[in-house]
């Protein structure tokens, strides 16, 4: 299946999209999602360990991702 992953700021620019459909086998981990994204055009611009959020909270690489979760890649934040 494909998991929609939300993109923002420089990552949205890198992929040329606000959302990218990532091919993964469920259930999987955050690290699996990032790995799959590296094969998508633009994925080569990702840093070694991009931050990922699952359901609006930062998630570690070994965190489980299930169908229906809202997954987002978080570029280095610069609020304030």
């Amino acid at each position: 299946m494909t998991l929609p992953v939300l993109l923002f700021a420089s990552y949205a620019d890198a992929f040329g999209a606000r959302t990218v459909a990532v091919p993964v086998t469920m259930p999987c981990t955050v690290a699996d999602v990032v790995l799959a994204m590296r094969s998508i055009p633009g994925g080569e611009k990702l840093p070694a360990r991009p931050l990922v959020a699952v359901n609006h909270a930062y998630a570690k690489p070994d965190a489980r991702v299930s169908a229906g979760d809202e997954v987002a890649l978080i570029p280095p934040v610069a609020g304030g």
Partner: protein, 155 residues
Amino acid sequence: MTGQPATLPLVAITHEPIDVAALIAAVSHARVGAISTFLGTVREVNDHRPVTGIDYEGYEPMAVREMQGIADELVEEWPGLRIAMIHRLGTLQVGDVSVAIACAHARRAPSADAMRRAIESLKARVPIWKREHYVDGEWTWVDPTNSAAPMASQS
């Protein structure tokens, strides 16, 4: 909001100019002796480059959740703390207020310490990004982890 003037902690994302007076009013209370407020404003120069404006982008539901988490942590550390924090998104001009934080407490030390901690935490973990536009037409997504060589830059 539940009928009171303001439910605290008050955290919000807005696309409109920030009403600083309303934020201060929200944390004011007869038991408060000190109100420390932080305002972030758009500077005309950053890293020696003239800035014409900034686009702020945010992952809004997560930004609100992280701000709420910061506020809850601060109230846990300083019981009685009354805190309001709001971040503006969209296109801002030089001088515009991008973020406002008000921390009220019976005593000044917790008020000031919480205010400082709030802005540091916000900058460290709230998912908001800014694209600076320069006089020469170039723009950059600001990357505080690598300010010497911004990750993405194009004309």
